[in-house]
Amino acid sequence: MTTLQLKNIVKRYKTNTVLDNLSLDVADGETLVLFGPSGAGKTVLLRLVAGVIDPEEGQILIGGEDVSDIDAEHRGIGMAFQNFALFPHMSAFDNIASPLTATNSTKDAISAGVHKVAKLLKIDHVLSHHPKALSNGQKQRTALARALAGSPPLLLLDDPLRNVDAKLRFEMRLELPRLLAAQGATVVYVTQDYKEAMALGDRIAVMSQGRIRQIGTPEDIYNTPADIEIARLFGDPTINLLDVTPKAGPEGIHVELSNVKVVLPGMPADVAGRACVIGLRPEAIAFTDAGAPGAIPVTVEAETPLNEKTVTLVLTARGREILVSRPAGTPGPVSGPAHIAVNGRAAFLFDKESGGLIRSAATPMTRNGEAA
């Protein structure tokens, strides 16, 4: 176990700034997920920490020690690559053994180490195979086993589940936290999949364009996204975002959706008249009867079952698309006109110009979308 600190890291490729004055602290034994779109600089950041590339400015400290003069092979890091990066001319055994052979261990110790980690990852039956003869899932496990084999205090996992099929990804998402906890290492985990980020991270750092936009626990990020972009990235189906101008009234701050008043309890009074964007998670919207208070008329366009929920795409009178989610198996309209009701307490409000969060939902949702 160890700590990792990045201080004011700048990395440029020619005139292109990939990491822009980035600072980050990872605590001892913590799993930090770096989440963001491709090109955000996540992989570059991992390579800087690993020591295979050097930053233009800034400091990297591992266990409190500045590692700028320490070569990659002496940093005590285990790393798994997105493309697996297995050694194609070596068997799975030799691949996994590579961190152990570097330390002059005896043959028996190496063999024992490889078998231990291979058993943990359930690949002990394919150790004699070359990478060419391994399935994608086995390759991914071999790459992971190689990263774990040396029991490194710091593990860097670069989107290790990116290139495996959905079923395996789901299994590994369940298995990995246990594995990482057993390892006891400090982990930096890169992913583009928000569910993976939520499932694995003690904390999540949301990156885009070489900066960290928000850092916090999965619940923090989901319930208090710093801006529209982050709200859009976290959540499946995606949050509904509608341009609105809140108004003040006797009931408090409200917005009008298709000329129907939706009251937003607890909003600061100064938002009245400002150009805003309202964020409504699909779970915060429900179908209702035509006569019910606050019923907004819509037309049902399409319906998609999504595991435990059913997602319906509806169009408002003004042609705006809205996603509505309900637990699978509950009744709902499948086509034609219908009515929806919006839970104003679960609405987010963002500033339209800056994209920044004005107020998060008064009733926070859990990761699964139910009101807490």
Binding site: A50, L86, F87, P88, S98
Partner: protein, 285 residues
């Protein structure tokens, strides 16, 4: 493929046969000539029916060339030995120097790296005759003319750029992540070069080495000018068959057969690796 008609098959067979005959006939004819005397070779009309003789080979191996004007000493076997020694040593040296250099050019973009690599390549397309005169002078000053060392040095002009540029491509095709993974696992850069980069570029290195060998073997003009009789390779040594009493076609033919045999054998042996090596670079992933 099942739908190919008999006519198409026949035409294809004829076309292929023509191509094979066109390319193989000279080799076949030379092979026949090497077992004939000058008289039967120069007979009109030429005939494929003759009494084979080993006299040409005997003359080459004993070094005694009997012509109408008398007996001449020829150093063909020595020439052949020189060719083998010069080519093998030159390619070995070019591999020792060129492979690490190719790795450096492939993996490290340092100031002026492209310029240096291009300068080395330019040795390949500069006409040898252009540099020959100054080179001869320098070699005389340095005492390098008519030495194996000097010849091997000059042969680097042929071998080194070839190996450098071909092998560089193979190193560039190896995913950098694979090498990073080995570094991070705790191995030095040199171990990474030895255990990862070299084995993965192996077929490419073999292909480049073979090509360099063929080029070195075929070299004529450097050896002609820079070496005296006892250091000359077969390409130059074959000139000895143009004697005052006529051209010894029979001996030339058998000399050609003997001198293409090593490269041919090597190429046939390495063919599999060569095709693999030359096509490996084209398919990424």
């Amino acid at each position: 493929m099942e739908t190919t008609s008999t006519l198409e098959k026949t035409l294809r067979l004829i076309a292929l046969s023509l191509v094979v005959i066109f390319f193989m006939f000279p080799i076949f004819w030379i092979f026949l000539m090497s077992f004939q005397t000058n008289e039967t070779i120069l007979a009109i009309p030429p005939s494929v029916i003759f009494t084979p003789t080993l006299s040409n080979y005997a003359a080459l191996i004993t070094g005694k060339l009997t012509t109408a004007a008398g007996t001449l000493d020829i150093a063909f076997m020595r020439n052949l030995g020189n060719s083998i020694f010069l080519s093998v040593t030159s390619v070995a040296l070019a591999l020792v120097l060129g492979v690490p250099a190719a790795y450096a050019f492939a993996r490290h973009k340092f100031k002026g790296s492209e310029d240096i690599a291009f300068t080395l390549l330019s040795f390949r397309f500069a006409p040898p005759l252009l540099v020959l005169l100054p080179l001869t002078q320098y070699f005389q000053w340095l005492g390098l003319s008519d030495t194996y060392f000097g010849l091997i040095w000059v042969y680097q002009l042929i071998c080194l750029p070839l190996i450098l540029w071909i092998v560089r491509g193979y190193f560039e095709d190896i995913s950098a992540d694979v090498e990073y993974a080995y570094r991070i696992a705790g191995h030095s850069w040199f171990a990474t070069f030895r255990k990862i980069a070299l084995p993965l570029a192996g077929p490419g290195i073999a292909a480049a080495g073979l090509l360099a060998f063929i080029f070195a073997w075929n070299n004529f003009v450097f050896a002609l000018v820079l070496a005296s009789a006892d250091k000359q390779p077969v390409t130059v040594g074959a000139l000895a068959f143009v004697t005052s009493s006529g051209i010894q076609y029979g001996q030339i033919a058998s000399a050609i057969v003997l001198s293409v045999t090593p490269t041919l054998a090597l190429a046939l042996y390495a063919q599999r690796y060569l095709v693999e090596g030359l096509s490996l670079g084209a398919v990424k992933g």
